[in-house]
């Protein structure tokens, strides 16, 4: 196992909040009075033991923690065996974005629901296999920007950082000088303003 403390998402992290909003299947282990409304297809007031639902991950994590388990989490389908097989066959061919926008971030939570470690292994396998691809893309100055569409959020950030660093290195090697630029926010602000003025 990896050290559990090696990665802790920041409390205010937008990415982590969005990843923990993803729906995760689970099964209730207890009756929950007055929480019938969690199940949109039923009209009872109380939620009955045995009910199977898809709830946001933050709620599932909380219900599956502590001494008193309220619910039992299950694996979302993209981490189940059928999908794991697809990833094992050729991870580089996959549109990971379609699997899930937060494939790794979500997976790092989900893997704790899988005691056998298969999810853990497939996360690692997927990342290491696809890393070369991302590196090649980032190093290639005129790589197709639409390629980004097939990457998950973490991969996109790596691609973007790598690509920017490559571009800076290229400019430096070619011109040995990087032009001073307006701050990015100032620049965008100006562009937006221009667009607005043209519309008026």
């Amino acid at each position: 196992m990896l050290p559990s403390s090696s990665y802790q998402p920041n409390y205010f992290s937008i990415e982590d909040i969005l990843a923990t909003q993803e729906r995760t299947p689970c099964k209730f282990l207890q009756d929950v009075p007055r929480m019938g409304k969690l199940n949109p297809s039923a009209e009872e007031k109380d939620l009955k033991v045995g009910t199977e639902l898809e709830l946001p991950l933050w709620l599932v994590l909380d219900g599956a923690a502590g001494r008193q388990l309220i619910l039992a989490p299950e694996l979302p389908k993209i981490y189940r065996e059928a999908y794991r097989e697809i990833l094992k066959a050729d991870a580089t061919a996959i549109d990971l974005h379609k699997f899930n926008l937060y494939f790794y971030e979500l997976g790092s939570y989900i893997k704790h629901f899988d005691r056998r470690g298969d999810v853990h292994n497939i996360l690692l396998h997927t990342f290491t296999t696809r890393f070369r691809l991302i590196m090649d893309l980032a190093n290639n100055a005129d790589s197709d920007p639409t390629i980004q569409n097939k990457l998950d959020t973490l991969e996109r950030r790596l691609f973007k950082d790598g690509h920017n660093a490559r571009m800076k290195l290229n400019t430096w090697l070619l011109e040995s000088g990087i032009p001073l630029k307006a701050a990015s926010m100032v620049d965008n602000h100006r562009k937006r303003k221009r667009v607005n003025e043209e519309l008026v």
Binding site: I14, I17, L18, M35, A182, V186
Partner: protein, 198 residues
Amino acid sequence: MFAEKACSLIKELSRCEEGLPPYNIELVKEVCTEIKQLHEQNKEDGAIVANESEIAGNVNPLYPTLRIGSAAVKRNIRCLLAYHYNRLRTLRTMRWQFGSILPPDIKTNLSSDEIDWFSKYSSCLGKYMRSIGEDGLNLCLDLRPPKSLYIEVKCLIDYGKFELSDGTVLLLKKDSRHYLPRSECEELITQGVFHHIV
């Protein structure tokens, strides 16, 4: 579902990669109402659970309800604070990029608390920068290692008069070109007044 509105606040921020969407006071108010209602309900349930567990010695059937209720409050608070926190962080970056005066159209997107925070941050940063060394150091300058002493710049707007450190006064007109010491024009480049020609 609980905390759905609170999460929409976060989605608003994530859609806007740079810059700030207008402060969504309506949605913030709705989230506050949800928190308050859940919190009241939890207090009630909590009292019952605590009371009856003492008597019966086993767990009250309301316990799972309470767990879910308090998880929902926690989630709502996390989203609400993250919304405000990330907006302040963006404002912070704006202080470094725009300087201590924000363009009016950005200012209209802020809440009054945010405008207060911006000026507080600005003065706190100013105080710190003035405290460095003998006569202070402007950390908003020297953002990149220097490559050359003089650079050629084009003025992008009618800026007006600009005084150099040696006392020379330049009149900066739109599209005028100047050959100036890099240290003199770095701030105006950052603020988008000059364009650096290479």
